[in-house]
């Protein structure tokens, strides 16, 4: 059989961000993958050392759009740890609400794209239409459909009055039956979806451990490592939810984890809205940030986001570093793509819910 090298990318591999793959193929099958990254490396970490602590809330939110809430939230947590700031309980609930709204919208986008790649355009449109409920939620509550500017050091920058709480519950009542009764069953049973995603892009649990994988990719292979449960932050310890896992480690399993997590997120949102305590949603003033260092981690839609901050007592970080879940997931594509059909590559790439803006910073 002839062996070829095929360049894929850097543009238009199932998404609108650039990544270059050089594939060694044996006939229809992928023998080896080499990834070349760096097309959108912007030096944002360096920029953060030239901005003050408050300017960096805005900057970190612009690392990526889909997990734009996770970046400033985790960053704020490092600052708060160094300064010994106790975030008001109401603000912690509001942070969870912002986090879960973003998670639902992000996961729905990913499973919609899966349907698009499979060629099931009516399902793609159906999921994207349902996702508009959460996009409208973001626009109504936060004033923006992607960068919601919810977080600040010591709390949040948005409020929910009784009318908005009631409206949000109404939106969840609209969305939940569509997810549970229509969308999830289609992904679970439809032959078009199953034939293209079952047994495709497989990665085993042990490989997930070796590559340090996190998020729905790891959980699709049975590796239960949700930071909301492992290292609870904000008020996750007081909320009732299941960590969703599957065992087959294929494209389908990763999609089913995301669909399961959408349902869990809706449950978390309902609990937060019902329990939302009275009190301040942020601390007054701008506290001085002393010299120190801290590590914080949260569960972004794609998995664990880690931030490290070192300060020297000035108004700017001495060093700010972060690592997103896609960072390891990219590297593991070599395992998932091995022996895959060339036609399945877009599906496999999409199944890690890749974020290049996050990865390269």
């Amino acid at each position: 059989m002839d062996t070829f090298q095929i360049p894929v990318g850097p543009l238009h591999v199932a998404l609108e961000e650039p990544m270059y793959f050089r594939l060694d193929v044996d006939g229809e099958r992928v023998a080896a993958v080499e990834i070349t990254a760096g097309h959108v490396h912007r030096g944002i970490e360096h920029l953060t050392e030239r901005r003050n602590f408050w300017q960096n809330i805005v900057l970190t939110e612009r690392v990526c759009s889909l997990c734009s809430n996770s970046h400033p939230q985790t960053y704020c947590m490092t600052v708060e740890a160094i300064a010994g700031i106790e975030v008001p309980v109401r603000a912690q609930y509001l942070r969870v609400i912002a986090d879960e709204v973003k998670r639902v919208a992000s996961h729905m986008f990913n499973v919609a794209i899966l349907a698009h790649i499979v060629g099931f355009e009516s399902l793609f449109m159906h999921v994207m239409e349902a996702r508009e409920i959460m996009q409208d939620v973001k626009e109504t509550i936060f004033g923006n459909r992607m960068d919601i500017a919810a977080n600040t050091i010591g709390g949040v920058k948005y409020e929910l009055d009784d009318a908005r709480v009631a409206w949000l519950v109404d939106q969840l009542d609209r969305l939940e039956p569509v997810i549970v009764g229509e969308i999830a069953p289609l992904y679970r049973t439809d032959r078009s979806i199953l034939s293209r995603t079952r047994g495709v892009g497989v990665i085993g649990r042990q490989d997930c451990i070796e590559y340090g994988l996190v998020g729905p990719v790891a959980r699709g292979s049975g590796l239960d490592n949700d930071i909301r449960r492992l290292a609870p932050y904000a008020v996750y310890a007081d909320l009732d939810f299941d960590v969703v896992t599957e065992t087959d480690g294929d494209v389908w399993s990763r999609a089913m984890v995301r669909l399961g997590e959408i349902r869990q997120s809706i449950g978390i949102l309902r609990q937060c809205l019902a329990k939302l305590p009275k009190g301040p949603s942020s601390l007054p003033g701008w506290p001085a940030i002393p010299a120190g260092e801290a590590v914080a981690k949260t569960e972004a839609p794609r998995g664990e986001v880690v931030y490290y901050l070192k300060t020297d007592g000035s108004t700017m970080p001495q060093r700010l570093k972060w690592r997103v879940p896609s960072y390891m997931n990219w590297d593991a594509l070599g395992v998932m793509m091995k022996d895959a059909r060339i036609s399945d590559i877009p599906l496999i790439v999409n199944s890690i819910d890749p974020c290049i803006s996050c990865t390269e910073r």
């Binding site: 760096g38 490396h41 590559y211 490290y308 690592r323």
Partner: protein
């Protein structure tokens, strides 16, 4: 002496055996954050193996300049069942640090990134292929590149042309 039972106690017992200074901070959620400054960078691999033995996952590696003296610090951040451990080593000018890829496979991208950004020397790696930056800038330190902030502020035009002119004159 009592036998450690909780994950945090096991982790503390493990990190206390590492050669260096150890600071432990209990967290409100029952977990622990531990900072270990290794006295000698040659003990890094042994430290990583000790952590792997108690189930550590490498979360991230942060390299940063030592602002007091020439050289760099490298901080290796681990997650151990939710707790966080950071091992920090110092690498002086002209010194090298050993790869930990044989212990933690996912260290590969992190090491490639800090080598290309800071020019820190490494030993034991199979390949030194750059991660994000063009091969032509391999091994150069971050401070040698034009900061994006200056470009974004439209302040780079003059600097950029001056550098190009200087390079042309040098040829």
């Amino acid at each position: 002496m009592t036998t450690p039972t909780s994950n945090a106690e096991i982790l503390l017992a493990t990190t206390n055996t590492l050669p260096g200074t150890v600071e432990a901070h209990p967290e409100p959620n029952g977990l622990v954050t531990i900072w270990v400054r290794l006295a000698d960078r040659s003990t890094l691999a042994a430290g990583c193996r000790s952590l792997k033995a108690v189930g550590a996952r490498l979360s991230m590696i942060t390299a940063m300049p030592d602002v007091a003296d020439p050289g760099h610090f490298i901080a290796y951040h681990f997650d151990v069942a939710g707790s966080t451990v950071t091992l920090t080593v110092r690498v002086g000018p002209g010194e090298t640090v050993e790869t930990i890829v044989p212990i933690f496979r996912n260290a590969d991208w992190h090491e490639r990134e800090f080598v290309e950004l800071y020019g820190i020397g490494m030993t034991g790696r199979m390949s030194m292929r750059t991660l994000f930056l063009d091969e032509e800038s391999a091994g150069r330190r971050r401070s040698e590149l034009i900061p994006l902030s200056r470009i974004a502020n439209a302040a780079s035009t003059k600097d950029l042309w001056e550098q190009l002119e200087a390079a042309k004159e040098a040829q």
